[in-house]
Structures are given as structure tokens and as C-alpha cells.
Amino acid sequence: MAKSETITSPMSTRSLRHSVGRERLQLFLHNPMGMFGFILVLLFFVAAIFAPVLATHDPLALDIPNRLSVPTLEHWAGTDQLGRDTYSRVLYGGRVALQVAAIGVSISLIVGLGLGMLAGYGPRWLDNILLLLFDSIRSFPTIVLALAAVALLGPSLHLVLAIVIVTSIPSYARLARTSTMALKNTDFVLAEKSLGAGTVRTLVRHIMPNVIGPLLILAAMDVPVVVTIEAGLSFLGLGVQPPMASWGTVLNEGYLIVRLTPWPIVAGGIPLVLTTLGFTFLGEALRDIFDPRLRKGR
């Protein structure tokens, strides 16, 4: 009886892995929007983290004689009605944005992941209840929820953070749930069951690694949403309180004096736009690279 043949592999594993990795990198580098987004995101982080070094003035320092000025060599983006340097305020505002983004997105992601996997993998009744919960939360337009909360608790940054987290969780949870449900019925999950794997093992080792990918991309696209919510709420006076600097408060004060000088609202708005652009481009580029469906030629 003849023996069955050993298969020959056209490429060794290392070279295969290298070429795939290199392919991904190439795709990324050749994606102009992705690179542009990456640079913007980098800029955001650098500006926020190194704000004390990059700022020219103390954001809270008053300079009444120079108030309402246009951009000059001393005040790169002009000053507001109290003479505070707009450029420095914007930089420090970035720190607030970073804080909200980092904390808000991380917590939402983790909680959303957990709840979503629970809804997707667990019993039907649990799924129904959780879905109902998510949909109810989502039916509150964010600002309406914020207004109601402020009506009861008073404005603060922590409140904004809490609202941001609560309103973001449903999106992550929904995505995690859909991915989990799709994976629950695949052959490989069934195969794991046939080997005797328990629920926890299946969830943690096999389902979660496949669910977390889209969630991370959602997180990247979610950062601008979160930052915008913070800015919007602070703009309305519901979040960060003056005199602390946040992009929203800069815009708020700028709007009040818009007929006197347009510079604060321009300077305050630009970082918001750039951050949003940056994270959106980056998220899209990542999705294009990692989502195999989109790479299908035909």
C-alpha cells in the first residue's frame, strides 16, 4: 500500500508571515488618508501631553491690556476678553479632551464588550432584556440626557464623562453582540464544543479575540464623537466650568464675543476639526486594512 504524500509548501511560514505583514504595512503607507490621519492623531497626543512645554502662557493668566487682540507674535492665536492667551488655552483644552477620550472610550469599550458578549452568547431572555436596555439608552439623544442630568446634579466634568460613557456603551455592546452571535454559530465554535471546551474558555480564547478587532476600530472612530460631546456640553456650560480651559469653554466664551473678535472661535474650533479628521481617517484606514471583506477584488 502506497503511503500518502507529504505536502510541499510553496513558502515557509516565516516568509509567508513576513509578506503578509509587509503587505499590510505597504497598504497602510500607501494610503494617503490613513497616513494623514495618523499624523494628526500623533499631533493630538503630542500637543496634549506636552502642553505645559508647548504653551507660551499660563492658560489662566490674565493680560487685560492685551485683551481681544488678533494673533500677534506674543499671542499666537490672539486673546479673549480677559486677555488670556487663546493658543495656550487650546493646548490645555486638548488635555481635557484626551482625558475624556482615554477614560471614556476605555471604560465604554470594556463594559460594552462584556455586556455584548453576554447578550450574544447567553440565553435568549437575557439577550432580550439587554437589547431593551441598550435601545432605551440609545433613545435618549445625548444632549437631552445631559441636560436632564445637569438639571438634577449640576454641571461638572465628571458628569460629562459619566454621560459619555453611558451613551457610548450601547454602540460597543451592539457591535460585540452582533459579532458574538455571528461567531456563536460558526463551525469552529462547534468544533471547540466537540472537543469539550467549556463556555468560559470558548468565550475568552476563541470568541473574544475575534470580536475585539472591530471594537477597537469603533473605538478609534468613537474618539472624535466623545471629544465632540465634551466640547458641545462644555460649550453649553454643562460640563467643564470656567475658568478651566477646554475646547468647549473656549468656544463658549468666544461665541459671546464673536462680534468683537472672531479668533477664539476659529482657534477653538480648528483643533476639534483636526482631531475628528485624524481619528476618522485613521479608523477608516485600519478598517480597510484589517477587514478582509473589503479587499475582495471582484
Binding site: 502506497a2 511560514t13 471546551a197
Partner: protein, 672 residues
């Protein structure tokens, strides 16, 4: 032509010369990567955006198609060249009725009124065998079953009386019995319309049944061309010869070993110099690897082949067209396998599996069935060391039965006894121990492997799950060795494996804890004919060395015939015949089995069937026929068949016992 991919140019088609004679049926045979489908899309100028035709000509009815502009091409498509597609479930738009779709196709016939267009459509639907076309034309595609949808697809292709009909794997997505019907339909249509047809397929049986001439493609080249009898009886090119040898339907002698063509299709990014098949050809000589062969005539017929070895001007070994007739000798069992013991390792009795499809609210209000019985009263047994084949078409319940045996699906009633122990009702802990003795191989090789685990962790996972203290590295190496997977592959991820490689990983994983029974679900699905032997031979070897027992679930009858000792045939969730595999194939007792056995397209042009073995389609599980559930399609059905359901009774055929569920089995006598 070429495709532009991130890794460079893919030279998909090179120097293709095909003549399609008018009024005849041309077959294009090839396996995956041969480029056969690409040729069609190229002709029709519907390639993906990263494909480009570099040179060449496609002359159709006097015009060169490749030179036409878009608008001219538009008028060719549908009118003069029309297509039938592989998968009827995804090839038809779900949101428009057939009436609308067919009327749209006729949009160029401005002289016809809407009513006339509809009448024409109804006529064609009638011709392709769709019942009640006047009513059904107003329905949506999801109202049609698979076979009906394919017929509708053919109707749509014929609507404009095209000169050329191209069929891309027209039966691949269909069951065997439906395949036979479609083949018959195409034959009839050819006769009636005097159509010129081009059929692309990897199924040698289909080609042999339908075609007058055949083109064989390999890795983007045409390697042989000739009349169908030339190709099937006197294949000239080594690839064609090897392909014929590999097809399990060609040999009726059961050897337990299937030939394969070793190696892989070459990477078309970097073409080898010389003959494209040289790396896998068993007759290859030095010259084959350095110079590309040219087309040579074989004898004086139209038979042409691209091979050095048949070139009269070539120095070196010469090959003549091997005479290769399909082997029709009676079945002989030639296998060196230890005779299996009489002990029943696995005994399944009256197993029933029921799925809930609608909630009680919906079923009450909309009068829909609440449950669907996927498996009813299934009883079978597996002896140690033997291979039991579980055969059926879609809806037969065979996969569900396999899963129910392993406890992956909850059974409603019945018993499963393994090694003396009742499996149903066992707690999860109790079952855990048994999972070491029974393993499963799944149908989708890559899909059944967790995407973010390396091969190494996948293979050694059983050890981790059952908390077995073992040197995982050692075990991984041992398992790789057993399935002949290079050690290199341990670090790979599932998406980096080919189908065949992924199957080996599946085997390795199943073998990890030395099981005694392996249930294999469609082990050859998706594999080319020339490589499916690899996995089967491996399984065979392992069975010999380790004394494994297999339950193989498949709808591929020629393959099952070669590998199984005993056979169980299922229809609509019930077993209808059960007994020795050779006996059943040579003398089927149940009419359904007969239809199945006769329904497989034979790769032998002289054995074309003129009669269709079976009509109609599988009834829906939700509305089962009364009496014998097969009576609606059985050509022998009589009144008792319609009223009373037959139970599995023992009969004797050639002194061997067999069980069959039929009032009037075709052979044998009762054993009472």
C-alpha cells in the same frame, strides 16, 4: 490575461485557443486555479477591475468581442451570448419578481408589449420544467427551491434566443438527483433549440454526459483538446491521464487507496520556464522543465495536446495516448485492513432530533409548524475498526445525526450507546471523558479552526481542555508527523493554510487524544478531485495503524463507495437503507438508493443515461408526505405506499443481511 494583485501580476491565462463549434456542446474541464471561469468572464468582458486582457482575440459570429466598445458589448450580452451561473441562491436578485426580471431582460424588444413579454417568459419557464408558470412567474426568488431556481436561471438565459449559452458549473451547487434532472434538461434544450453550449466544470461526469468536445485546462493554459471520446478513452496529456485516474467514479474496484496528483498548482505570480505541469508530472524529463511545449496533433483527429512527450519532433521518451477505459469490472474488495471486530463500538437506537422553528405565537397565528423533525428514529451501529458511510442529500439530516451522536445537538429521544455507556442524559462532566474517545472533523476545513489560534495551539488544545499533563511541544510534533504536516506549519494561522492543509490540521486535532471513533463531516468537500485522495488515504492509513472507526458523512457517492464498509442512506431524516456498502451499490434495494446510485453522472461517454432516475425535488421538512415519505418521487409507488409508512425490515440479499424501509424492495427476500 493578467490580474493585478498586491503581490504583483497574476498571469492567469496564457495563450488560450479554444474553438467552440456551432451547434455542439463544448466542455471546459479544470480544477481550481485552472482559469476556466476566468476565460468565460474574459469573453464576456465582465472581469473584475483589476484584470486586464493583454492580447488575443475572441471571435464570435464574425466579430472580435475583445475589440468591441462597451455599448456594442452590451448588445451582445444577453442577446447573443447568455450565461447560466453556478449558485442559483445568490445569482438572482431577491427583491424583484421573476416577471420583472424577465421583462427587464427583454428590454431591447421594444416592439413587444408587456403582456407579450410575460407570455414569452411563461413559455420558456414551461419549457424548462417549472410547473404552473403563469402563477409562479409573479413570485420572488426565495419562493423557489434550489433546483427550481436553477431552472429559472436557465429560463432567463434562454429568453433572448442566444446563439451561445455558457454554463458556469451549472450543477455544482445542486444535489445529485437534481443534477441529473438539469443534465437531462440541458440535453433536451440542446436538441430543441439547436443551441451552441459551453459548459465549464470540474465534474468529469457532467462533462462526459453532456459534451461533444472537451478542453482541458491547467493553471491557465489549455493542455488538451479533443472529442469527448478521445479524451475519456485516449487521454494524451499526463495531466488528463492523471485526472482520469483520480476520479473515484471511474473505477469500480474498491482499492482503499485513491490516486492523487502530488504537489500544488504553481504560483501564477512567477511562472516557471518550461511546461507548466512539469513539476507534478510523473513522466517529466529535463527538457520539459526548460522549454515550453507547443500544441501537437495526436493521430489524425482534432485531438490536440500541449506536451513534449507526444511531439514527434521531440527527442527523448515518447508517450502515446494511453488507452484508459473506465474499469467496469465487478467490485472486488482489495484492501489490507485488519478485519474489524464484531463488537459494536457505537450503537444508536431510534434517535430523534427536533428543532423549533417558530414560537408558539407565530405558529398559532400564521398556521406555521412549530417544529421540524430533522432526524426520526435513526438506528445504526458502528463496529470497531470499520468505516460506516452516512449518505444523503440536503435535508436528509445526516449532519444533524452526526452532531447529535456527539451531543453537539440536543436529541429529543432515543439512545446512543458508546462502549456500553449510554450517552444521552449524561452530565457535561460525564461527557467530557467521552470527548476524548469520540472526535469530529468538520466540513469547512478553515472555518472550523479558530481564526486567531496558531496551528500548534489548535492541535494541543484538547490536552489543555482535558487538563492532561503532557509535553505539548512533543505532542504537537508527533501529531504533525502523523498527518504529514511540515513542522513549519505549527506557527501558522488558519487563514494562512490551504484547504487541504487545514483539513490535515483538523485530522491532527481529532487524533490528539487517541480517539476510537472519528465522525468526519464531508471530508472531501471543496477539494479538487486530484487532491481529495490525500486526505482519504491518510485517513485510511491511520485507521490501519490505530484501529480507528469512522463514521463518514457525505453526499459524494463515488468517494463513499471507495472508503466505506457499510452504508446508511438517509432521506428526509429517516434511514431508508442500511447494509454492506458494496452490496448496496451493486444492488440497491430501496428505490431512492437506486435513484442516487444511478443519478451520479458517469465519466464515461458511452454510458450516458437517457432516462432521468428521479423526478421532483425533496419535499420540505415542514410538510412531509403521508405514508412512505418517498412515494411522491418514487416511480414504483403504489397505493399502499401512499398510505402506510414502511419500517426498517431485514431482508437478505446474496445471503447478506440488509435493512430497508420499503414496502416493495427491489431485490432480496425477507428474512422471516
Amino acid at each position: 490575461m493578467e490580474f493585478q494583485t498586491p503581490r504583483g501580476r497574476l498571469h492567469v491565462l496564457r495563450d488560450i485557443n479554444i474553438d467552440v463549434p456551432k451547434g455542439k456542446i463544448l466542455g471546459v474541464v479544470g480544477e481550481s486555479g485552472s482559469g476556466k471561469s476566468t476565460v468565460i468572464w474574459a469573453i464576456n468582458r465582465l472581469l473584475a477591475s483589476n484584470g486586464s486582457i493583454n492580447s488575443g482575440m475572441a471571435k464570435f459570429d464574425g466579430q472580435d468581442l475583445l475589440a468591441l466598445n462597451d455599448r456594442q458589448m452590451l448588445s451582445v450580452r444577453g442577446e447573443q451570448i447568455s450565461m447560466v451561473f453556478q449558485d442559483p441562491m445568490t445569482s438572482q436578485i431577491p427583491v424583484l419578481t421573476y416577471d420583472r426580471q424577465m421583462s427587464d431582460i427583454q428590454y431591447r424588444r421594444k416592439e413587444l408589449s408587456t403582456r407579450e413579454k410575460r407570455e414569452k417568459a411563461i413559455r420558456i419557464m414551461h419549457k424548462v420544467g417549472i410547473p404552473d408558470p403563469e402563477d409562479r412567474i409573479l413570485q420572488y426568488p426565495h419562493h423557489f427551491s434550489g433546483g427550481m431556481r436553477q431552472r429559472a436561471g436557465i429560463a432567463m438565459a434562454l429568453l433572448m434566443d442566444p446563439l451561445l449559452l455558457i454554463a458556469d458549473e451549472p450543477t455544482t451547487a445542486l444535489d445529485v438527483t437534481l443534477e441529473a434532472q438539469i443534465i437531462h434538461l440541458i440535453q433536451e434544450l440542446r436538441a430543441e433549440f439547436d443551441a451552441t453550449i459551453m459548459v465549464v466544470s470540474h465534474n468529469l461526469g457532467l462533462i462526459a454526459e453532456l459534451c461533444d468536445h472537451v478542453v482541458v485546462m491547467y493553471a491557465g493554459e489549455v493542455v488538451e483538446y479533443g472529442s469527448v471520446s478521445d479524451l475519456f478513452y485516449r487521454p494524451a496529456h499526463p495531466y488528463t491521464q492523471a485526472l482520469m485516474d483520480c476520479d473515484p467514479a471511474r473505477t469500480h474496484t474498491k482499492t482503499g487507496y485513491l490516486p492523487v496528483i502530488p504537489g500544488d498548482v504553481p504560483d501564477l505570480h512567477s511562472l516557471p520556464t518550461g511546461c507548466i505541469f512539469a513539476s507534478r508530472c510523473r513522466h517529466a524529463v529535463e527538457n520539459c522543465r526548460t522549454t515550453a511545449p507547443k500544441n501537437v496533433q495526436v493521430s489524425d483527429s482534432e485531438h490536440a495536446v500541449r506536451c513534449h512527450l507526444l511531439d514527434p519532433e521531440f527527442e527523448g521518451i515518447r508517450l502515446t495516448a494511453k488507452s484508459s477505459a473506465p474499469d467496469n469490472s465487478a467490485a472486488e474488495i482489495v484492501r489490507s485492513r485488519p478485519s474489524h471486530g464484531k463488537e459494536k463500538l457505537l450503537k444508536v437506537a431510534d434517535l430523534c432530533v427536533r428543532f423549533q422553528t417558530n414560537s408558539w405565537i407565530r405558529s398559532a397565528i400564521q398556521n406555521r409548524p412549530r417544529f421540524v423533525d430533522a432526524v426520526i428514529d435513526a438506528s445504526l451501529s458502528l463496529h470497531s475498526g470499520e468505516t460506516l458511510g452516512l449518505v444523503g442529500e440536503s435535508g436528509s439530516g445526516k449532519t444533524t445525526l452526526g452532531r447529535a451522536i456527539l451531543g453537539l445537538v440536543q436529541a429529543k429521544s432515543g439512545s446512543v450507546v458508546f462502549d456500553g455507556q449510554e450517552l444521552r442524559g449524561l452530565s457535561r462532566k460525564g461527557f467530557a471523558q467521552l470527548r476524548r474517545d469520540m472526535a469530529m472533523m468538520f466540513q469547512d476545513p478553515v472555518g472550523s479552526l479558530s481564526p486567531r489560534q496558531t496551528v500548534r495551539s489548535l492541535i494541543t488544545e484538547p490536552f489543555q481542555i482535558h487538563r492532561i499533563d503532557a509535553d505539548l511541544n512533543e505532542e504537537a510534533a508527533r501529531l504533525c508527523e502523523m498527518v504529514r504536516l511540515p513542522q513549519d506549519f505549527l506557527a501558522r494561522y488558519p487563514h494562512e493554510l490551504s484547504g487541504g492543509q487545514a483539513r490535515r490540521v483538523g485530522v491532527a486535532r481529532a487524533l490528539a487524544l487517541n480517539p476510537r471513533v472519528i465522525i468526519a463531516d464531508e471530508p472531501t468537500a471543496g477539494l479538487d478531485v486530484s487532491v481529495q485522495g490525500e486526505i482519504l488515504n491518510l485517513m485510511n492509513e491511520l485507521q490501519a495503524t490505530h484501529g480507528l472507526s469512522y463514521l463518514i458523512i457525505s453526499h459524494n457517492l463515488p468517494v463513499i463507495r471507495h472508503v466505506s464498509d457499510r452504508l446508511a442512506i438517509m432521506y428526509l431524516g429517516r434511514l431508508v437503507e442500511y447494509g454492506s456498502s458494496d452490496e448496496i451499490f451493486s444492488q440497491p434495494a430501496h428505490p431512492y438508493t437506486e435513484a442516487l446510485v444511478n443519478g451520479v453522472p458517469q465519466p464515461d461517454p458511452n454510458r450516458r443515461r437517457s432516462l432521468v432516475s428521479i423526478e421532483g425535488e425533496v419535499p420540505s421538512l415542514a410538510s412531509r408526505p403521508t405514508g412512505c415519505e418517498f412515494h411522491t418521487r418514487c416511480k414504483y409507488a403504489t397505493n399502499p405506499c401512499r398510505e402506510a409508512r414502511p419500517s426498517m425490515t431485514s431482508i437478505h440479499v446474496n445471503e447478506k443481511e440488509r435493512k430497508v424501509a420499503c414496502h416493495y424492495p427491489l431485490v432480496g427476500r425477507r428474512s422471516d
